[in-house]
């Protein structure tokens, strides 16, 4: 049954958390109330990406984008838009520092500068309905592979496309498949790594939430190429919606004969099992992940014998991440040439020679438009942050961007024109990683940021090898010392030495990359470390032990007339002063919580 209008309500984790399901119910009841139920259909979709303005909804086919919806807005919205045919301006998106709202989704810079391959179906289909995926061309690539191509041809196609591992390593996918296929064994396994553990990253979760069949189709194609009959999806249990949608998708695929035996009536059997991870960061490491599937503690092992040769249960195993798998059907469908036309470098002679296709990033931190984006490789960081991301929040100054998750390095402003490319990012001390991107502004203390991310990796270290277990803890100790103002110049030298040692001698990539935030901040923001150490001063004003809140008497009395709000809110009772008089902060009592700073409407409180 065709409808006049479709309301695509985002049901990604972020919007669901912001009550988008209630909005959906309200929409349906309001539409029914007005007798429009045969003309307007409400559809729940996967993550739309623009999480900063959720809960959100797109009106199709016009592409009108409504944002920051509240349940109370719905009756008015339905009345205005669907009965009277007028746009509700208050609910449209207005870019920061501009006045005119942008009604159409395709005109919003956040969406306009993206290139969608992996996320091509986001916001357009109901992820829990396989027919919608098929209607969008889904499973055609599988049909093509099974009916027209030999496994070797598939591998050649993937190799020619230049697709590289999106989980962070950037290993050429075609070579991985080929090596795995060529290991003689009665059983080969394929694994989809959906154990996304980076804080603030949700690329894989959203991909599964918005388009689970793309992942399944990718795995099917890979399994056919490698000669595997059994696949696993290792997904963390903290992703309930993704898990549920994946289960639904697998069930539907099985019902349609796309999983199971004699797929497309060809001699090809394939089954996917879901294994739920308990949330250990290190289980995203391939060998630890396989140990976890086998029921052993999730600890990595040395990979001198590659997992493509001896992986899961000592059988040749091909592990790729969610995003890599989701790229595969598109490459098969549209051809390696199309895919390799996007991105940097040349992969015809050297598989490591360039970065092709797109990369999904989760943009977070101090940018206006936080959310999920898919951009072509080779795009500059500046474009991502200032065009797609809409610049820094509250008009503050950009300081650094961290790419690649908690073990990625910080990239300073001078390198913002760096293209997004595996090798380029590695060269400056960061990495592609799985696609986390955290933006820091002038108020972020880089020492504190480095400490924060190191504290994460240190806590998530499995503790197996000495450098990672002992080394990261000692590094954290030194950073702690610096942020409380007890660091010495010698500590900086030790910190650097220790960081380099941990990188060089750790057993797995967790330890091998954990010091990146420290090393890059030491490299690009050494003056901040020195300020902490020498002047006992925190330039970002965020290290509690090194700052003081001070009330500017002129502003307090002149502008605020001694309004007394700060004193009322101070939990430590540290602010002295009567209404209509100058207030002062008792340094001895002050707990440096920053509440006064936040509540003062007259900017009379300074941090020094």
């Amino acid at each position: 049954m065709a409808y006049r209008t479709y309301l695509m309500v985002c049901a990604g984790t972020g919007c669901v958390a912001n009550q988008s399901m209630k909005i959906k119910d309200k929409l349906e009841s309001e539409i029914r109330k007005r007798g429009l139920q045969d003309e307007v259909s409400v559809v729940t979709t996967g993550c739309n990406g623009f999480c900063a303005v959720g809960p959100l909804m797109v009106v199709q086919p016009d592409g009108i984008f409504y944002q920051l919806l509240k349940e109370t807005d719905i009756p008015f919205l339905v009345e205005e838009h669907f009965v009277k045919g007028r746009l509700v301006k208050e609910l449209l998106y207005t870019p920061p520092r501009e006045k005119a709202p942008i009604p159409k989704m395709s005109d919003i810079p956040f969406f306009a500068d993206q290139t969608l391959i992996v996320l091509r179906n986001r916001g357009l289909i109901n992820p829990e309905n396989i027919d919608e995926y098929i209607a969008r061309g889904g499973y055609q690539a599988l049909a093509k592979v099974l009916t027209l191509m030999t496994p070797d041809q598939v591998i050649q196609e993937i190799k020619a496309s230049g697709l590289r591992g999106r989980g962070g390593g950037g290993f050429p996918t075609g070579i991985k498949w080929e090596t795995c296929k060529n290991v003689p064994s009665d059983t080969h396994y394929v694994i989809c790594n959906a154990d996304e553990g980076d804080p603030g990253a949700f690329m894989d979760r959203s991909t599964i939430e918005s388009d689970p069949h793309a992942v399944i189709e990718g795995m099917l194609i890979g399994a056919y190429a490698i000669g595997s009959r059994e696949g696993y999806v290792y997904i963390r249990n903290e992703y309930p919606i993704a898990l549920e949608r994946l289960q639904v998708a697998i069930k539907q695929a099985r019902e349609y004969g796309l999983l199971g035996q004699k797929i497309f009536n060809k001699d090809f059997d394939f089954e996917i099992r879901i294994v739920r991870g308990a949330g250990a960061f290190v289980c995203g490491e391939s060998t630890a992940l396989m140990a976890s599937i086998e029921g052993r503690p999730g600890e990595p092992r040395a990979k001198y014998v590659h997992t493509v040769e001896r992986g899961l249960w000592d059988k040749p195993t091909c592990l790729n991440n969610v995003e890599t798998w989701a790229n595969v059907p598109q490459i098969i469908e549209k051809g390696a040439g199309w895919f390799s036309s996007i991105g940097t470098g040349d992969v015809t002679s050297d598989a490591w020679g360039g970065s092709k296709g797109t990369k999904v990033f989760s943009l977070a931190g101090k940018v206006n438009n936080t959310g999920l984006i898919e951009v072509p490789m080779g795009i500059t960081l500046r474009k991502i942050i200032f065009d797609i991301g809409g610049g820094i929040k509250d008009g503050k100054k950009f300081k650094a961007v961290q790419t690649g998750g908690p073990s990625g390095g910080f990239i300073p402003e001078s390198l913002l024109d760096l293209p997004v490319d595996y090798e380029e990012l590695t060269k400056v001390g960061s990495m592609m990683g799985s696609g986390g991107m955290v933006v820091a502004d002038e108020n972020n203390c880089m020492v504190d940021m480095a400490k924060y991310f190191l504290a994460f990796t240190q806590a998530e270290s499995c503790g197996k090898c000495v450098p990672c277990r002992e080394g990261t803890k000692r590094m954290l100790d030194i950073l702690e010392k610096i942020t409380v103002g007890k660091g010495t110049e010698e500590d900086l030298v030790l910190l650097e030495e220790l960081s380099n040692m941990v990188v060089e001698s750790s057993l797995c990539a967790l330890g091998g990359s954990a010091p990146n935030p420290v090393l890059t901040t030491l490299k690009y923001f050494r003056e901040e470390y020195e300020a902490h150490v020498k002047d006992k001063h925190c330039p970002g004003h965020s290290c509690r032990e090194l700052i003081q809140y001070i009330i500017d008497p002129e502003l307090c009395l002149g502008k605020g007339h001694g309004c007394h709000v700060c004193a009322k809110n101070c939990p430590d009772g540290a602010i002295v002063g009567e209404t209509k008089q100058v207030h002062t902060i008792d340094v001895m009592k002050c707990g440096k919580c920053g509440i006064c700073y936040d509540v003062c409407k007259f900017d009379a409180i300074h941090i020094e």
């Binding site: 014998v305 000495v466 277990r469 002992e470 803890k473 030194i478 040692m501």
Partner: protein
């Protein structure tokens, strides 16, 4: 075979050998702290990091698990490698400053004071350094799956499941064996295998059953061997070059039909802990004679050295005779062999140590060929003989340095004085006593016992090797305490008796024997259990009792007991006896 270059030396090794093994072959030392030849390489200490150069690429790898490939150049001591090892060692030293293996390795790598103070510093000398060898041993080799790691990162520790004693742990001790710091301790009381019988200290599941056994063939105790519990380990099979280990062998019970039996089941040693005054089982360094024998043995636990529990040589040894023998509270008889072995002990102690030796005896019984001469020789060797039964052994200390000692209290009856003799070690001459299961053996063969509990011979003077049961002979301490020459003589005699019957080929039976008049037998079976020679059996098909004439001694017990007068003497029926009487009366 591939050729590689280690520190400038060219070595030819098998492909896929690890760098560590190749370096060993080349005589190059690479430090390791988590490596054991019995385990798969674990690669966590990272001390064995080396620099591998192939073509233009150089990378750091761990030698323990990195397989060599042809044309590889390996630097085990480059500046970078030295630096990595140094920092790793600093990290370990700052966390475990007092663990011996850490200190030694630090010293060897010239690491002195760590630059990174550890907040998790563990001052214990036997701290766990998380090398993981115990965990891998338990899981991969033993396959018991008891030990594991808990927590992550800096909080990682080796634990038992739920931090509780695990039923799956069979106290095999493999974890403690590989533990480099002594953090794991085996509680012997929990050991579920065979307890040591005649040796001191723990016994491994593989052992030679008796000291100096000939041929020296070890056995595997299936009760304590881990392999039979978990299917794992098999280290013995791996190291046994002639492939002699066969795990499929089973215990078997063999039934052999024989005509005669020689019972020589030996003796038990009197348990001296029954005489609490001597401190056996309570005080250290108080030993029974058999334990001391194993200490003296060159294949024993101390390799034949006479040492105390502390590992030091004793300054004085006291040997107390007649423990449990010649004692009306325990055994009234003399054990006969103790005086002479006590003299032998004294001789060996004199030979191997400088200790003073004291013998506490009631009477010296050095009878037999050459025995008295040996006693006299001992007196010449300076062994102090104190005539008087020791009263008790107590703890004391040496005068002068105050080191702990034992004190033997006794009355020296020759000088008529009470004495306290300080010694470091006490050897008790325990009585020989019948074996615990001798009554069961006795019933099996219908042998009687004498008042002392030993098997009773048919005649103490005229027939000391045979028993009241035809075809059953006895020899050795099963018959009574005796030394080796006496046992050999008695056993030889018994063997000759057995052979004489075999040579003859037939058995003479007693003329007087019982017989069942089957028409009178009611089948009550009263006689069956009464027969001391197990000569009466019950014929189920006829429902009557039957006398085995070869076993019957004609004692008449069954005849007297038979309620229906069916049992009667063969040739001695009531009618026959009455007829004979009648004849006499005429």
């Amino acid at each position: 075979m591939v050729t590689i270059n280690i520190d400038g030396k060219s070595v030819e090794v098998l492909e896929e050998t690890t760098i560590l093994k190749a370096a060993e072959q080349a005589g190059v030392w690479i430090p390791t702290m988590c490596h054991s030849e019995h385990l798969e390489p674990y690669g966590v200490c990272r001390l064995c990091s080396v620099e591998v150069v192939r073509g233009k690429r150089s990378r750091i790898v761990t030698a323990c698990n990195f397989p060599v490939r042809g044309g590889m150049t390996i630097h085990t001591n480059s500046k970078k490698v030295q630096w990595l090892r140094q920092v790793i060692m600093e990290l370990m030293l700052s966390r475990w400053p007092r663990v011996r293996v850490v200190k030694e390795m630090a010293e060897r790598l010239a690491v002195k004071e760590p630059r990174f103070p550890s907040l998790e510093r563990d001052e214990a000398e036997d701290a766990c350094i998380l090398c993981g060898m115990c965990v891998n041993m338990c899981n991969d080799v033993v396959k018991a799956g008891v030990l594991g790691f808990a927590h992550s990162g800096i909080k990682r520790e080796v634990v038992l499941p739920f931090d509780e004693r695990s039923d799956s742990c069979i106290v095999c001790g493999a974890c403690a064996h590989v533990c480099p710091t002594g953090h794991i301790k085996v509680i012997l009381e929990d050991y579920r295998g065979k307890k040591p019988e005649f040796t001191l200290g723990p016994k491994t599941p593989i052992y030679v059953p008796t000291l100096q056994a000939v041929p020296r063939v070890p056995v595997i105790d299936a009760e304590s061997c881990i392999h039979f519990e978990t299917g794992g380990c098999e280290i013995c099979a791996k190291v046994c070059e002639p492939n002699a280990i066969d795990y499929s062998m089973q215990d078997e019970i063999v039934e052999i039909e024989v005509g005669q039996v020689l019972v020589s089941t030996g003796f038990d040693l009197f348990d001296a802990s029954a005489m609490a005054q001597y401190g056996y089982g309570r005080l250290d360094n108080v030993y029974s004679s058999l334990e001391f024998e194993s200490i003296l043995n060159s294949t024993g636990p101390t390799g034949g050295k006479i040492v105390m529990k502390s590992g030091k040589e004793p300054k004085a040894v006291g040997i107390i005779h007649c423990i449990g023998s010649r004692d009306t509270n325990h055994h009234a008889y003399c054990s006969r062999v103790c005086c002479m072995y006590a003299l032998k002990f004294a001789h060996l102690v004199r030979d191997r140590t400088d200790a003073a030796i004291y013998q506490f005896y009631i009477d010296m019984r050095a009878f037999g060929k050459g025995y008295e001469e040996f006693y006299n020789r001992l007196l010449d060797e300076g062994v102090t003989m104190i005539r008087g039964k020791a009263a008790e052994v107590v703890e004391g200390c040496w005068q002068g340095n105050g080191e702990p000692s034992l004190k033997i209290r006794c009355e020296d009856t020759l000088i008529g004085k009470f004495r306290e003799v300080p010694v470091d070690m006490v050897v008790l001459c325990n009585a020989i006593e019948p074996r615990r299961d001798s009554d069961a053996v006795r019933r099996l063969f219908s042998i009687s016992k004498s008042p002392d509990g030993f098997f009773l011979e048919r005649h103490p003077k005229l027939d000391p090797t045979s028993t009241a049961t035809e075809g059953v002979f006895i020899a050795g301490c099963a018959q009574g305490p005796k030394d080796i020459p006496d046992t050999v003589a008695q056993a030889g005699s018994a063997a000759a008796r057995i052979l004489s019957v075999i040579a003859k080929g037939e058995v003479e039976i007693e003329p007087v024997r019982a017989m069942v008049q089957e028409e009178y037998c009611s089948g009550c079976k009263i006689c069956n259990n009464l027969c001391p020679y197990i000569a009466i059996e019950f014929l189920e098909e006829k429902k009557v009792s039957h006398v085995n004439e070869a076993l019957c001694k004609g004692c008449g017990t069954c005849v007297a007991a038979c309620p229906s007068s069916a049992m009667t003497g063969h040739g001695f029926t009531d009618a026959q006896i009455l007829a004979e009487l009648d004849g006499l009366m005429i």
